[in-house]
Amino acid sequence: MSIALLIEQLLNGLQLGVMLFLMAAGLTLIFGVMGLINLAHGSLFMIGAFACAAVAAATGSFWLGLAASLVAAAAAGALIEVVIVRRLYARDHLDQVLATFALILILSEGTRWLFGSFPLYLDIPSLLQGAVPLPGVGQYQLYRLVIIAVGMIVAAGLYLLIARTRLGMRIRAGESDREMIAALGVDISTLYTVVFALGAALAGLAGALVGALQSVQVGMGEPVLILAFVVIVIGGIGSIKGALFGAILVGIVDTMGRFLLPKLLALVLPATQSGAIGGAIASMLIYILMALILAFRPRGLFAAQA
């Protein structure tokens, strides 16, 4: 096993983590501010990917597609918030789970209706094709490095937005006491729509970026959604810092587990078994990690104030 391969896998883990952060940040914001558990967040990821692929195919420009993914996901998010989700804030978690589960069914089948059952394909833009040499031997895909950079920039931007701007101040106030900030004259329902649309746009961005690495198809959001849930539960629901830490932890543990476990088991088991057992355990690894963390810290690593 060469060092270059190890670095490549670490970077893959980081890229997965950064993408999970884009999903988890929106989920955790929406939960923190509105107290809503949103299963349909994965559908917004899918909408972003489809918007990007469709616009890129029509115009030939990935960048227009990327812009379209942000707009489409944010618009879909705002629409969903105003028409449906707004009625769920006062409900219990069971109603929220069911209503957003229903939204998944509607959005998935609706997308299949519009685009058909065949996957769409999205090319990496020519500017970002190619590879970057790694220290030592080997090289790494430039596009994946750009995803990591975009994720880091978004994380920094979110931090500034929440810590330094008036909107961020209102979001933080909404997290700690929503009745009070409504009483102080802040239009709380507009704030909720803005937060939901912001979360949706981040999910859409993640969908568009990942769409160029895999095929764009209905249901692509669901595995990512569940990983994002694992991330925010590990990090502590409502905490952006927890989402960033949890996302990178999950991304790296998952990738390195799949890479290293079969190799480690090969030292003690025959080759025919070590791959299967290693693969099976590796696919469970992050859930084991989550169970362990919750067993010792039931509110996650960076629990936000209740």
Binding site: F229, V233, M284, A291, L294
Partner: protein
């Protein structure tokens, strides 16, 4: 003493679910018997989940794990019996349904014990997500473990046997599933009125009050979680035998969601809610699935309507509000 409206509706539902397949078998329409068997099995699974969710208020989003475990117990035991190869430690496979059921119930319970013990340390949204995560863990294990078919699933060549009954024919198999559904409903009814059930319902309504009379909610909830998983495991074994097939999709989070949907469509925390919900769900799937491939789109709309505007589900509409909801 006059019966309440809900009791009348319950009896009517039970008779209807029995009469329709019997009539269909007489008329030579085995397809409808299979449809009714599906209703009975899904209803049994939802009755099991309703013990945790309806009585205990435990929103488990991971009960597909126990449904799938039951299914894999049936599939694995049958495949070893068919190939005449022993399982681990020289245990033989079997095609006897009673043995399979007991094994499914026990293994589902044994798996539910640690899952419940860890999950019940959390509450609210954390509980929903950690149960989901445990189910995903088992899902991915089944999907990537090649011995029993991995992602392709495992076929049951011939439906398993029950002494004195020809299980290969649709009507006898329906009757077996129907009897087990009635037994499951009986269990729910007994639990609901028992001291344990009252403590469980108090744990849902006011855990602090329960603690203050000297009963720790944790043990009560854990017991309910395990019993609930055992019933769902039994339903899973029946479901695998119905389809003669088990695959990771029985373990998927969609399945967990569907089980909750069944309860909500029928009416949460009511004895026959799961039966009404399963009947509506299967009929909806059948009626709309014949008209359009996109039936899930309309299912989504109906579900959204029920959650937003008709919170009591079907029984809520027919029989009025549940007590102590």
């Amino acid at each position: 003493m006059s019966m309440s409206r809900e009791t009348c509706i319950n009896i009517l539902l039970a008779l209807l679910l029995l009469a329709v397949p019997v009539a269909a078998a007489e008329l030579g329409e085995p397809f409808y018997v299979t449809l009714a068997t599906r209703v009975a099995i899904l209803a049994l699974a939802a009755v099991g989940l309703n013990i945790a969710l309806g009585l205990g208020g435990l929103v488990s989003f991971g009960h597909a794990a126990f449904f799938g475990i039951g299914g894999y117990v049936a599939g694995i035991l049958a495949s070893h019996a068919f190939e005449m190869s022993p399982l681990v430690f020289g245990i033989e496979g079997t095609t006897s349904m009673p043995v399979i059921w007991l094994t499914a119930i026990m293994i589902a319970g044994l798996v539910a014990l640690p899952i419940g013990a860890i999950s019940l340390r959390t509450t609210g949204v954390y509980f929903i997500m950690i149960t989901l995560a445990f189910a995903q863990m088992i899902y991915y294990f089944a999907e990537s473990w090649p011995t029993y078919g991995g992602a392709d699933g495992l076929s049951i060549i011939m439906r398993n046997q029950f002494p004195g009954v020809n299980t290969a024919r649709p009507l006898p198999y329906f009757l077996i599933c129907y009897c087990l559904l009635i037994a499951g409903l009986g269990l729910y009814w007994l639990l609901q009125g028992s001291r344990f059930g009252l403590a469980l319902q108090t744990a849902r309504q006011n855990a602090i009050r329960l603690s203050s009379v000297g009963i720790a909610p944790f043990g009560i909830r854990l017991t309910a979680f395990v019993i609930s998983a055992m019933v769902v495991g039994l339903a899973g074994a029946l479901f695998a035998d119905l389809n003669k097939f088990v695959s990771p999709s029985m373990l998927s989070w969609h399945m967990s969601g569907e089980l909750i949907v069944l309860i909500i469509l029928g009416g949460k925390g009511r004895l026959f809610g799961p039966v009404a919900g399963a009947a509506v769900y299967v009929l909806f799937e059948f009626a709309l699935g014949g008209l359009t491939e996109r039936w899930q789109f309309f299912l989504g709309l109906v579900l959204l309507g029920v959650v937003l505007f008709a919170r009591g589900g079907l029984l809520g509409l027919l029989a009025g509000k549940a007590r102590h909801d």
